[in-house]
Symmetry: T
Subunit: 68 residues, 12 copies
């Protein structure tokens, strides 16, 4: 059984980089990730410039390596 | 990276109180919460009266204080 | 089998009160209500003030007490 | 013809109060408002407490009092 | 407060069996489950036959038996 | 003109059986049913097992055999 | 309290005529209708021509003239 | 850059005429319109007849002729 | 088995005519069409007038008369 | 590149069988199918019994074996 | 109170660049922007190449610097 | 009449590149493409890294160059 984790990835570069950042952090914390789905794309603006792109995404990980 | 936790908050008073109840319980369990989003609003009825308002909501918490 | 009745509840106070008002009216008309779901939240404005909050909601009632 | 303005209302009290706050500010700025629709319900949390409830809503106003 | 866990259940038999499989695995891992909601229904095909039906579902479990 | 009745069908077996159960009950109550649409798929769990699959569905029936 | 009736209106002419047909039939059956919302627009084709436009719509009627 | 204006067009005739009415009013107020999208289709009923068809639509206009 | 073809129908007259135009073109190309569903309603504006109404629709055709 | 074909599968047995039927027919017509997604679940009723379950689904097939 | 402006950003480079372009143009026109949300992602093709990526987005700006 | 083809574009680089890849392949196969719409954004992960970004998109092509 796979578990879907919902997280918010961010990047000053763009949406694809925000996704990459979130997936890599999930992997670094020890999860075996299989696939992801974008849920929402947002971003924040500060002093007239985009501070960060934000992507809410669901990442499917193996559930046997964590409490369900 | 933020993690989105999906929970069901309840209250006999109303939807806003149901949200408040859920956010406070998440905070009491040690999470640093940043924001929330309402997903669904429901409720149960018993003996002709609303027993509780139920709000399904996603709460964004810092992920470094928990297994992702 | 439960039947879902879709109704519009209103209140000058707020959304939760509009829901309560609709559920109570359904119960007064003789239905055994079990649960409800919010479909849409709207409202009307007159002379610069909110005249009423309006909630479209579905209420699950027992179907044996009415023509389906 | 009515124009739909999309705004974010906020309140420390709850969702209904956030809506009321936004509608009143639109009226104070000189618009004739007719009705509103809730688009999204969110909120922010600071130091373990809900700082504000946020409601994204569309408010229908008469368009002859503004550039469309 | 209930917690909504999102998981992917699979079965070579059909969608209902995929749901049953996921719910049983969540229960075996020690959770007290109350209800579930189907989010998405998919499946994979290999060598011209359906290899597995996949159901993404949210399962409501009691949150006091786990870190929120 | 057809009327859409929204009901909740249940079955311990699966989603298709829950639909069949609801359609048959509507027919037994005297309606001429033409078609149906699934709105939502849920279920309840008791003591670690699925107690029932629940399908919210809309059933199109002829309206001349009932008050609209 | 208003009740939302969901019906299917049809017309060989077009979508607006299908709506008009359904609203008029609801009124002829004795209901006091206030407003309507389009849910879905479909149609059937026979022998290479559109046989009818079909509109699923919800019509708000006063509930005191019928069992809720 | 194009700006999306959301408006409500109305007509006693039908949905297409309601759209045409709104687009023409936007153009008369001096905007250069490029395209439109239907958001919602509704209507009001008075004394048993459709008083007006209402279409909520977004119209894309050039933003250099107005404060963004 | 039926196949769903997604096409864009257009007409200077209105949405219903745009649908009719698309269905007739599909039939002329040799398909046996059964029913259709509206997916999206849009349109283009040129020199202050609606140039065409555009309807994205799915048309169900028999699949044995074409490569699936 | 994969192509998504949208089809309607049917079965007198249930939703899972309707999916299986559609996937097998696509494969028999020579396509290499990879995965599928359920879009909509419906059905028809005749003489008080479900005549068929209908599932609208998208099936991903390799595009090099057909005109895109 | 924040106001949500809906605009269409474009770029020959990609979606993130289209967003950046729209946000910068809104800021140049004098608005204090806070955050944005992606509504829709589209694009146009000319002579076999992508001419531009188009992103419909909502940008939250302070409303005190403009007529609401 | 335009036909909407739904395809899955992929790229190890990002979402915009995945779209570009799909549009170019459709053009290479001889279609005259006009515009595209993003339907869904997903991706696969292998050995802790994003293997590919996947975009499900609809591409509008002229239908006279193919069986509808």
């Amino acid at each position: 059984m796979l578990r879907m984790l919902e997280v918010v990835g961010t990047s000053p570069e763009g949406f694809s980089e925000a996704v990459r950042s979130a997936v890599e952090e999930i992997v670094r914390s020890g999860h075996a990730a299989h696939f992801f789905q974008v849920v929402e794309q947002r971003g924040s603006v500060r002093e007239g410039r985009i501070r960060e792109f934000q992507v809410v995404l669901k990442v499917a990980v193996e559930s046997n390596d964590m409490p369900v």
